[in-house]
Symmetry: D2
Subunit: 255 residues, 4 copies
Amino acid sequence: MKPVCLVLGAGAGIGGQVGKRFALGGYHSVLCRRSDKEGLDRLVTEIHDAGGEATGFQFNAVDPGSIEKCVAETEANIGPIKVVVFNLGAQVGDHDLLDTSYKVFERCWQMATFALFRVASAALPLMVERGEGALLVTSATAAVRGNAGQHAHAAAMGGRRMLCQTLNAEFSKKGVHVAHLLMDSAVDAPDTLGKILGPERFKEFRETHGMEHDGIIVPSEVANTYYHIAHQHRSSWTHEMDFRSFSDTPWWNHG
Amino acid sequence: MKPVCLVLGAGAGIGGQVGKRFALGGYHSVLCRRSDKEGLDRLVTEIHDAGGEATGFQFNAVDPGSIEKCVAETEANIGPIKVVVFNLGAQVGDHDLLDTSYKVFERCWQMATFALFRVASAALPLMVERGEGALLVTSATAAVRGNAGQHAHAAAMGGRRMLCQTLNAEFSKKGVHVAHLLMDSAVDAPDTLGKILGPERFKEFRETHGMEHDGIIVPSEVANTYYHIAHQHRSSWTHEMDFRSFSDTPWWNHG
Amino acid sequence: MKPVCLVLGAGAGIGGQVGKRFALGGYHSVLCRRSDKEGLDRLVTEIHDAGGEATGFQFNAVDPGSIEKCVAETEANIGPIKVVVFNLGAQVGDHDLLDTSYKVFERCWQMATFALFRVASAALPLMVERGEGALLVTSATAAVRGNAGQHAHAAAMGGRRMLCQTLNAEFSKKGVHVAHLLMDSAVDAPDTLGKILGPERFKEFRETHGMEHDGIIVPSEVANTYYHIAHQHRSSWTHEMDFRSFSDTPWWNHG
Amino acid sequence: MKPVCLVLGAGAGIGGQVGKRFALGGYHSVLCRRSDKEGLDRLVTEIHDAGGEATGFQFNAVDPGSIEKCVAETEANIGPIKVVVFNLGAQVGDHDLLDTSYKVFERCWQMATFALFRVASAALPLMVERGEGALLVTSATAAVRGNAGQHAHAAAMGGRRMLCQTLNAEFSKKGVHVAHLLMDSAVDAPDTLGKILGPERFKEFRETHGMEHDGIIVPSEVANTYYHIAHQHRSSWTHEMDFRSFSDTPWWNHG
């Protein structure tokens, strides 16, 4: 029975590509996403066609009990979860304070912070019992600086980062590797960047920044580093690292 | 009509002393707390006896609409809110992940992060209209590092800190001073430290660390810096600063 | 005999104004600078005219033994040094790597890092003997982020900041308050900003950003906070804080 | 002609192992160290025996012109430098301020900060001409927090970190990947940790922390991550990451 890599937020960007990479490395990838059943099925098929193992689950991670049920069913029916990739985003665009509703503020926290707490509560004790495991958390610049208009997103991501530190403080000694992976460039992902920009501007952005320009994070490339980090020797674990296109300005520099 | 200093979390520690300090400086202090009606009345009386103005409100800040109502009533009946001191804590002690319930995790966020978002949404637009104001946010070490057992507290405080940055990014230019004031030592506060330690250990802690030892942050002293920061010239505003007893080890140093 | 406030880098900007503020508060201000003897004399005269005490020293702080001699002579002839204000800058403008000579790189370190180490070595042990004292260190954004072209300045300032932390770790418990005060906006200082911009651009910059715009840090205003920090109660010391014009963008935000 | 990986500080710890790893990956490793000619020869022989290419240089990097000459000779006689691994340490143990001489303070800066500036000045322009290259900088916890007794080391490492940021700001866009790799645990290195502890305590430390305990960073393991980072796709470069044994406490947590 193959070890499982459970991906929450397995869209066409980082989540899906990381799922592919772990399947290639001998894992059974369990791919979870809220929408686009077709895209999810295609991803599973691609992995199968390449000789790998994968299962798709479609649910809204914000629904009470949904993540918990997915963890339990995966353990019961598919295999032991060795790696969790937490890839739920909570980017809602830039909005002034008065245009940020209580509902949106809470929803961002539910996706970016609380869902991480829930999956950690469900999966990490199982990893501790087995003496090994990894929790890889995709994060964003908003976890380390709060830009204008990012009230809901930054508050949720700042919480996510501190939670990664408390999880690491408790679980590292017990053999579970927690890593906070901070994306500091736009990611070439149709589900997120594509939706924020709209099809036309996304196409233009890709043509001017992506492709041979390498100005957008290429999910299949960053997936290689996720895989590397999950397999670091336990004498030399990384807890936090940033990712950025070579042509981009780091969040702390000004152009 | 005096300008108002609205204090959320006006207990016997920092909140109450800051309320006293601003009353001394010519503000009408509006003091809000959840419990201990007697203590609240005593604080108001002390301010009156010293020739100052103060009003006490008792409510649970987590209750929907409570903060919003308090802001509206204060503006309608007492005076224009010039300074908000956000002093709600969310320290629940150290607990392992499995001993941290979903309910506790959410409650910490409601107090430490969401309540700040709510009071900012209610009060900052009024300050912008008047072209001046300050939001002073008491914070804790957990906002910048997640220690073992601090899952709920650190996640909430990390969100608080990023929210202070996004509020500053939007409102500083509009004349509202947002300051994140990080307490990095225990505070000599019977309502919080006293409750966590219990009466006997609190007494012992004060005798060995506080008093002439000055090993605990003295609320009446730190209140002077709150007052100073709220009155910095707008060419030279401070957004973030730490506070620590001289005899304490900073959060980033090891003993 | 009045306590002494020793200011290294006492030009017409922050250093000089801080010297004035401490003289007003009952200190004998010892003002040290490298150039502009006339400006130094004028500053001393202004303090005398206002009823305060001040002495001016002119020397190049980079010269071996210069700072050490100044500390010794001050202690012997003027009074006990209670506060050191370290205000030497090392901003040399933006230069590409190949336009940054070894000599410039070393000179920045000598001014921004090594000179601080020297004055700390000379003065802090004296403060420890007397059980009290403060070292206030003016710093810059380059201490926390390395922008393009800032090779020499950022390397020196990054060293300065870490040195402030090691000094605090050793001396705080012994009664010496070390504070790292980070200027994150341009400062209205003819000796530094004025020289970098040239007289015409400096005049224009002041007219568009300074004066009633308050878009440049006003040295006489920031001096009030220096004075406040030096007199915080030892239960509640601040080690690090930032200063920024209300209309400026923080270093971590992007416009 | 193979591309060159130039290692400054190629002792028996991280430097040597990284040299081996890059040789294994098809590089000609140029290994530089100050002392232990025998150890250097052994390392070169081991690489040769494994079918790889390597050359050893023995010099004191602090000597004026030494690094510059090494870069020039390597380019002239061995091959184009594609990767520089800067692995010079400057740990001198914990010393109080008065036990830290001016000479030691300056020497730490020469090794930890200035030598990096020198090798960058010599090698990075060559990489820019070729449109590719990487500068991997081994760093230490002292780069981000100044502990008691670390005056010389922390000041030098704080400068190193900021310099990495300014180098990245100028050279990333030109195709040169600069990475700051922060070791936050003791490293199993006889040349450094072994010398600080002495043979007996080092042996004991290894037996209680290292070996099957994995409580010390294993150089050959961390070398794999150096290799991975040097080969990240340029759309997804990492600038900063930490390394720590699973059983160790992160620098920001308290035990």
